[in-house]
Symmetry: C2
Subunit: 115 residues, 2 copies
């Protein structure tokens, strides 16, 4: 039995100012949510971390969850999307390159299932 | 450069009533947070899904995030803990067996790092 898939996405070489921009991160989430027909079940929670401007956002979805963490000082972002029902592929690499200037993107896809 | 580790934990054969119990899930989170010295940066968000009693909980941490999703009808739970700084091992298997009656537990540990 499968209870969905999780995309675990790490991107490096990103522009620091984009990683510290809540607007850029909210726009990424909005595009993902629309493209994959996801349904937030509660308002997103966002926090900015003092000093570095790093951001964290988490959204509880009817389909499971969507999270992001950014480290402007390292040009790094880490995104998770767990979907308990099938979804088409999304172009994480292309989107993160164009939105954040990512130089490298690693996308891992994990099946979540009864062990 | 490493920006931490994520534990991706799937457990099957769990007791349905425990998976539908917000109290049991909050107790699990509290124990994990205390044992691993984690720091919630916002209140946890919880939702119960109508019909099955399945629960979802997400916590934004200073160290990244902690999430859980349960499917009482399948005896299944899926937990994620992403920690951007090192933490000792936690006995996910033993804890999920004793708290939820899990018959099988799969723990995957992923490094999150610059690609």
């Amino acid at each position: 039995m499968t209870t969905g898939y999780e995309w675990v996405v790490d991107a490096g070489g990103c522009r620091a100012e984009a990683l510290a921009s809540r607007e850029a991160l909210e726009s990424l989430f909005a595009s993902l949510i629309e493209a994959l027909d996801l349904h937030p079940a509660a308002p997103a929670v966002w926090r900015e971390f003092p000093g570095t401007g790093g951001m964290t956002g988490v959204v509880l979805l009817s389909e499971s969850h969507l999270t992001i963490h950014t480290w402007p000082e390292h040009g790094f972002l880490a995104l998770n999307l767990y979907c308990c029902s099938p979804r088409p592929a999304w172009d994480f690499e292309g989107e993160l390159r164009s939105r954040f200037g990512a130089a490298g993107v690693r996308v891992r896809s994990l099946e979540r299932s009864l062990p």
